[in-house]
Each structure stands twice: as structure tokens, then as C-alpha cells.
Symmetry: C2
Subunit: 225 residues, 2 copies
DNA sequence: GGTATATGTTAACACTGTGAACATTGCCTC
DNA sequence: GAGGCAATGTTCACAGTGTTAACATATACC
């Protein structure tokens, strides 16, 4: 007979790993990665602290599991914003708006779930390897690359710029998210969203506008208005 | 008679605060903020752990002191790169190169001193206030604003874009620094510096090139080559 | 049904930050 | 110079933390 996860028989929990990741996620949401304390998580799911070591080799593995969940939700946030853009008929404009929507979803997730965002990117360990690539469904990076490919398909981006452009956009968006949570955390929400919009505008300009002088141009005659 | 800081009389240390910040900085350099452990720092300067509380209200204050030192060194790194740019006679090109030099110094510092960089920006506390502005000499933010003002003075930037542009550039550079230390940490050094150069190029394009359609343009006729 | 294995538990260790009470030193005033 | 006060360090102590070793129990498989 297949045992349902719900029927906890007292001693054996059923599926403790899942329960611990759930509890740890909830803690991380409100308190960030440092709020994931093993003993507390174990206690909150009604189990002894050392039981955790049957499912995680160390606390950091539990944190990693929460981080992965954070990536998942971030991708969802990007997809949600993506679903809000409505086609205008102009494929170029559509491609731009899709890219910006993904960026908006990225930063929105950071602002809505600062704890999970911080957990996802807080690999405090210097020199230590990060857990390679995550392989569940659509990753934030994968989504971004698709958007850049779309931009290329409508001739707004050179072929050889797709990967570099993706890294540029990622860094620009990620940096804003991080700063909004730390150094700029006392900004008003309105100012915050204005900053996001401005950033997405700058990013598109950096990607899609080519200055005539190829390398470091003294900039051509097209001054400002 | 003025007592020299060097003459420790056994019981009284002389200037313990300074010594502890020094030791903590060294620990943070190699191990990041989490390597700053109060008892260890105290022991390493030959004093009991609780003695620290005569100079710091809590461990976090010691970390903050190290963070401030990190900001200081980052500014120095930016100034160092700034000193390397040589005037070309074209004031516009010079202004651009100065901005890029500052950005390079910013990211270089992050790569050269990942522990201090992480400590400077690791205000893990969510919702908690960050320690306002730092008031020692030239701050990274101040330097950046000067560079943007220079850009405006040579008509490469609109007046109302100075602050927004500075935030954009800061975020774009900061994001790259963070990613190079975390998700992109296994890149080769050459690839890393190439990425930095590319990012600085993109940033200037975003700042200094104006697309004809003001808002979200479908982009004008200037396709790709 | 009996046994191996997965999964929890208890006891214990070496750490951590931090507070209270006590001790020593140096400076300031008479 | 002598005495007292404030600054600075020390000793205990406590409540936490992650983690290991040895033991207990329930589940799955032959």
C-alpha cells in the first residue's frame, strides 16, 4: 500500500525533507538566509535537530534547497510579468517590451521577496563552488537568453552580442535589485518603481543603439536636443 | 605626557578599537563578513572577548567599521584607475574614459578584495536601517557623480539625467561585480576582464546615445550594419 | 516472519554573542 | 603628591548554534 505523506505515524515523519525545506523557506522569506537555523526548523516541524542530518549533509545544503526554490519563484515572477505584455503589431517594440517585462519581474521578485532573493544569491562561501546549474524548468537565465534571441531575430541586436548582451542586462538588473534592497532601501516605493523603469530604459538603449564610432567613440554629431 | 599607542602597559591595551578593526579587516579579507568572529578577533589582539564591548555595542558595529574601511579602499581603487587615464585632447572622450575608469576601479576592487567588498555590502538585516552616509573623504558615490557631471558638462548627458544616470551606472557596475563573485565566479580572469570592458561599453551607450523616439521607441531606421 | 535499512532520538562537544559583577589602570582635581 | 572617579579589561555565566557518536524504532524486502 502506498503511504500518503500526510499519515505521520509518530516516529517517522513521512517526508521530512520537504517539510523542512518548506519551513526553512518561510523563515528565509521574513528573515533572510541567516534566519534559517537548523534547530529551529527541525523544532517547527516537530522533530529533533539531528534528524535533519538524515536528509541534509549540513545546514548549507538546506539553505541551498531554499535558494533553488527562490530561483524557481523568481522565474515565475518573470513569467508573470511576461504574460502581461500585449502584442502591439510592431515585432521590434514587442521584443523590447518582453525583455523589459522580464527585467521588471526580476526586480519585482527581489522587492517582493527580499529574503528569498538574498538567500538565492547569498553564496557566502568564497572560492567554494556554487551548485552548478539548476535544471528545473525555465530558469531566469534561460528566459533572459530567449528575450535577447528575440531581439536579435528582429535585427535589434547583432548575432555575436546575444550572450554578452544577456550578461549586461542581467548584471544591470541584478545590480539595481541588490541596491534597492541595501543602499537604496529607504527610497519610497514610487521612487523605486520609477528607478526600475528608468533602468530598463537605459538597458535597452545600451543594447539596441549603436554608436557610429565602433570602439570607444568620441560620439558623433548627434548631441542632445 | 602623550602616550604612544605602542606602549601597551599590560592591562590597558592602548587603542584596542583600532587594533580590533585591523584584525577584523584582515579576517574579512580572506573569509568575508562571516569570518569576523568577535572572540577570535579579541583573542588575536591579546584581549578577552568581552573587552570588545567597551568599544563596540555589538558585533555588528565591528562589522560596520570594517565595511566602512572597505568603502574607503574601494574609493582608492577607483582613484587609482582614474589616475591611469591620460588626456587625449578630446574632452568628450576624456569624460567617457574617466567614467569607465571609475567603473573599472569599482569592479577591480570587488575582484581583488572580495571579502571586503562583500562585507561592505552585506547588510543582511532586512528592514533595518543602514548606517546612513559615510562622510570620510571621497566616496565611491561622490566620485561617480562627479564623472556624470563631467559628462553633462561636455553635453553628453542631459541635466536631468545626471542623478538617474549615476544610479544606472552604479547598478550596472555593481551588478557585474556581484555576479562575477557569485554566479560567474568560475570564469577565467581573461573572460572576466573582457566582461568588464564590455559592460563599461554598454553602460556608456546606454547613457550617451539617445534614441529618437523618446519613450519606449520602436527604434528608428538605424538598423544594424 | 525475520532481518537489513532508513529514519529519529538522546547525550555531548566545541563553538558563538552577550550580560553582570568585579578588577585594574590612568587621569583630574585638591 | 594623594585620593577618587571614569575608562578599560577580566572572570563567570547563560542561552544559543552546528555537528558527531551511539542508540532506538519503524519500514521495506526476502
Amino acid at each position: 500500500m502506498v503511504k500518503l505523506p500526510s499519515e505521520t505515524s509518530g516516529y517517522h515523519h513521512g517526508n521530512l525533507r520537504q517539510a523542512m525545506v518548506d519551513a526553512a523557506t518561510e523563515l528565509a522569506r521574513t528573515g533572510g538566509p541567516s534566519a534559517i537555523v537548523l534547530r529551529g526548523v527541525a523544532r517547527s516541524v516537530g522533530v529533533t535537530a539531528t534528524a535533519a542530518y538524515r536528509h541534509f549533509a549540513a545546514r548549507s545544503d538546506l539553505v541551498d534547497a531554499v535558494a533553488e526554490r527562490g530561483y524557481e519563484r523568481m522565474a515565475k515572477s518573470m513569467l508573470a510579468e511576461l504574460a502581461r505584455v500585449r502584442a502591439t503589431g510592431d515585432p521590434r517594440r514587442d521584443a523590447i517590451e518582453r525583455l523589459q517585462a522580464e527585467g521588471r519581474g526580476y526586480v519585482r521578485f527581489a522587492l517582493d521577496e527580499p529574503g528569498l532573493f538574498a538567500t538565492a544569491f547569498e553564496h557566502d562561501r568564497f572560492g567554494t563552488e556554487i551548485p552548478a546549474q539548476y535544471d528545473w524548468g525555465p530558469s531566469p537565465w534561460g528566459l533572459l537568453c530567449e528575450a535577447l534571441a528575440d531581439l536579435r531575430d528582429v535585427d535589434l541586436l547583432a548575432d555575436h552580442d546575444v550572450e554578452g548582451g544577456a550578461l549586461y542586462a542581467w548584471a544591470a538588473v541584478h545590480g539595481l535589485a541588490v541596491l534597492l534592497l541595501s543602499s537604496l532601501s529607504n527610497l519610497s516605493p514610487e521612487h523605486g518603481t520609477a528607478l526600475i523603469d528608468a533602468q530598463l530604459e537605459y538597458i535597452v538603449r545600451g543594447l539596441c543603439s549603436d554608436l557610429p564610432g565602433s570602439a570607444v567613440p568620441g560620439v558623433d554629431g548627434s548631441d542632445r536636443p
